[in-house]
Amino acid sequence: MSILRRLGDFRGDSQFTTWARKFAIVEAGTKVRGHAWRRREIPLTTALWPTVADDAPGPHQHAEAQDLLGALREEVGRLTARQRQVFVAVALNDVPIDVLAERLNTTRGALYKTLHDARHKLRAALAARGLGIEGGWR
């Protein structure tokens, strides 16, 4: 059992039972997510890109939403191939990051770093276009 190999890592910053249960929870979660995706293809395209709903408060907001989506889609196209692959799968298509890590033979931590870098680049690019996204409808 993997926890027995990690006993030396216990630093006492939580109770031992909490520390031990954490391993069980994460291992179980990884197995459940893997099982749910075991026969599913990982979506790596932007074919299911979200569209603007009809419930925008008004024509101005509807146009603004389309501008934002269009700009974001363009900027996703400027990511590196690896960043785009991870962003599209995890952020856009809700593939669990540990499922993608297993398929790509890498680690969850390494993929999250790639996702973080992609998100940072996209935020900066949108801000440069005057499309900062903090806050709700203006």
């Binding site: 929870i25 856009l92 903090e134």
Partner: protein, 82 residues
Amino acid sequence: MTGNMPGDPRRTADHLLGPAGPELGCDECFEMLGAYVELELAGAPADAQMPLMRAHLAGCSACRDDHDSLLALLLADPGEPA
């Protein structure tokens, strides 16, 4: 995050783009998860003591699921007394 964008696209974009500021990585999150959940259960200001953890949980659905599961387990069975 596919399908129609809900009424406010900025919130949807915010979800796609994750936390704006610094955050932990998955490995650091795993290391600190037990202590963070124990602080939450004790009613202590977990986010003030581990400010980058909440940002990571907002941006990583797998770590958020693991956090929620551990919190639910410890709520149901607190284990050894502190």
